[in-house]
Symmetry: D2
Subunit: 143 residues, 4 copies
């Protein structure tokens, strides 16, 4: 289901007083996975230095606590490509035991930092993501 996984090393300082990874770190792990995914697709071009993605929303379902010895990896994929926005799904799991720590979803909006406004997803990015995931290059929002 996921064609891309990012391993994450749990840091001692990620743990809270119960010995569990603090819930805010789940967003950090997802961010690491998302950045690695975009790098893997090699999307950033020298002539588009000011275009990026802004996080519009995030949803996380916590299933099991992550511990210091957990072999965390984050599966990440693009599930829907809209006009200006696109959706990503995540699964935080133990790469050895397969236990699922959390599932999550984020929506990103394509943003032009130079002009400070949202813009349609650059076409090269749209094609790259659609091709990698085997999904339609454009799908209406599920609203």
């Amino acid at each position: 289901m996921f064609r891309f996984y990012k391993p994450i090393e749990v840091r001692f300082s990620d743990l809270d007083v119960l010995g569990h990874v603090n819930n805010a770190r789940y967003l950090t792990y997802m961010e690491q996975a998302r950045v690695a995914y975009f790098r893997m697709l090699n999307l950033r071009k020298p002539d588009e230095p000011r275009v990026g993605f802004i996080l519009a929303s995030a949803h996380i379902d916590f299933r099991r606590p992550i511990l210091i010895d957990s072999q965390v990896r984050v599966g990440v994929r693009v599930t829907r490509l809209g006009n200006k926005s696109f959706t990503m799904a995540y699964r935080l799991e133990d790469g050895v035991s397969g236990e699922v720590f959390a599932t999550a979803e984020t929506v990103q909006v394509s943003f032009d930092y130079a002009n400070q406004r949202s813009i349609p997803l650059p076409d090269a990015w749209r094609q790259a993501m659609a091709s990698f995931e085997g999904i339609p290059p454009f799908e209406e929002s599920r609203a």
Copy 2:
């Protein structure tokens, strides 16, 4: 709408390379607000040392970036009391300008750490939250 607000001081180290508060810190700010809310209600009893709440899910809608000078305060309230779980709503806003940075929702599950299982919400806690918020002490899940 919110009867409780928690002011949050933005730390320089909360900022990312764009000068915005990193999205993972929103969960940290919400956690600070949640902990302060429970303290305000004075819920923890000496004879219930091993009962706590586990975060089951979190949803955040990001509206505007938080900057270093933002006067952040987090409005937090309980919106639904179920059998073992309850729902909280949040608004991260600027206490001076009133600008909304984000709205969010989390679901918590009452948990017995000694026996490592979810338990019905302790009745004293249920009553305290219902009374403070002026909501029904029990409401079926919206599932």
Copy 3:
């Protein structure tokens, strides 16, 4: 001894598995105090947008653990003004009980970001710090 104190709110996520504030957060608390100190002196000028301070070294002596209920405040002061560098001293303490959590020292170097090189401490900054602290505006390094 300190003419400036910065109160710090301990965050739940600052704690480690022992219930103590993680040692890395001491540098975060010191950074918050340092930034507040420079703001208090109102040093940054519109025509010096690219001059800043780079941390050259930091030393911390840990005395007592900081807990979630600790009323932390950080005393901070400038103790020596050199040519390009200056030294600051810190005391992390409980503002209520007076207990000392840590003492620390950092050395900063004045840096021109536009030209990526260290520069002599701007004179207005030197005078402001010397005047506020009642120390000599220039002192050779203790090397």
Copy 4:
């Protein structure tokens, strides 16, 4: 010089507004290296569950900024074994280019959590560290 290195993955959220790893994270990276070092030596015994090390002091000399693409590794070693305390030295460097980001030193004190007091370094630990590093098993403090 270092017989043990711990690779560290820089996280996007470790960066500050200048695009450099925030100085507090250096202590986090050192902590990761220290924990890995003790694991490598396999020191913790089932019958010593409440003995640990408390950080007594830390000193860091910052040389070059760490960037998102830096291939960080932390060299760590024990340099002195005292009665109750011991000293560790660190070098944060780029594993590819060899550039040094920082050098550092920490002092740890052996601590009995059950009785809340410092204790002499357990002999098995002393021997293991002395043997691995090829240093004397006991050396007076450099005071």
